[in-house]
């Protein structure tokens, strides 16, 4: 962003605009380091180790994954993960069949244990949700059948 648009936006939106612009200039301050290795990992275990420090998980029935049974288009698979557990530190979403299984890690310092987003899946396989609660990892899986892959050319 250059100075001109900054000025324009500040004038147009008043105090809110200034706050946004100020926020824009320092986006990286509060963030944890981006775990590049975790996203480049080729299997679920090493991705989890890199992202969350461990890959020992307990299967839990208390994690709900809402995803379609059959996804027509693998490029857009809506996935919602929620859990009734308390003290949830993070929710991660992985796809076992993707080249790089780790899709996203959501750290939740003050949010409810609920995230909803849309992911890409290369082919039919399991969506894995990993919840970190009280320092331990819990997981759940759901199979999604993909008729058109989302990661091909």
């Amino acid at each position: 962003m250059n100075r001109r648009t900054l000025l324009k936006r500040s004038l147009a939106a008043g105090a809110v605009g200034v706050a946004v612009s100020a926020g824009l200039l320092t986006p990286g301050q509060v963030l944890a380091a981006y775990p590049k290795d975790a996203f480049a990992a080729k299997d679920v275990g090493s991705a989890l180790k890199a992202a969350l420090g461990s890959d020992s998980m307990t299967a839990s029935g208390d994690i709900k994954i809402k995803a379609p049974d059959i996804a027509e288009n693998g490029a857009v698979v809506p996935v919602t993960v929620s859990t009734g557990m308390g003290d949830v530190e993070s929710i991660s979403i992985l796809s076992e069949v993707n080249q790089n299984p780790l899709i996203a890690v959501f750290n939740l310092p003050a949010a409810e244990p609920y995230v909803s987003t849309r992911i890409k899946m290369g082919k039919t396989g399991n969506v894995v949700a990993v919840v970190k609660s009280g320092g331990k990892l819990y997981s759940a899986k759901k199979e999604v059948k993909v008729t058109i892959g989302g990661c091909g050319g």
């Binding site: 962003m1 926020g23 944890a32 490029a75 750290n107």
Partner: protein, 103 residues
């Protein structure tokens, strides 16, 4: 990269549901350009942060496997009138943010 974020937040019984839609190509870096056979370089959002009244509530670390024009919804304990800011940074260092007032 001004208006790349659509942001809505609604309070109901002490829980605020936030819905955000960002426009971004989200290239994985694994796709090939069919004509040249070369890989299309990765270009995707890496970090998304949500702040309420300047306090961090959610931080998302994303790979390229989030769909194009990402959608994100989450909930937090809050109320009407909260000032909510959502911002993202991608792997090329571009960024954007949007602020809304919870309804």
């Amino acid at each position: 990269m001004a208006k790349s974020i659509k942001l809505r937040a609604k309070a109901k019984k002490g829980i605020v549901t936030v819905k955000a839609l960002m426009s971004h190509p989200m290239e994985t870096g694994l796709r090939k350009n069919k004509k040249t056979g070369k890989l299309i370089p990765a270009h995707h959002i890496q970090e998304v942060t949500a702040k309420v009244n300047d306090k961090l509530v959610l931080e998302g670390l994303w790979g390229g496997a989030i769909s194009k024009n990402p959608y994100l919804s989450f909930k937090y304990k809050g109320s009407k009138g909260d000032s909510l800011t959502l911002s993202w940074v991608d792997n090329k260092g571009q960024s954007d943010s949007a602020t809304t007032t919870v309804k």
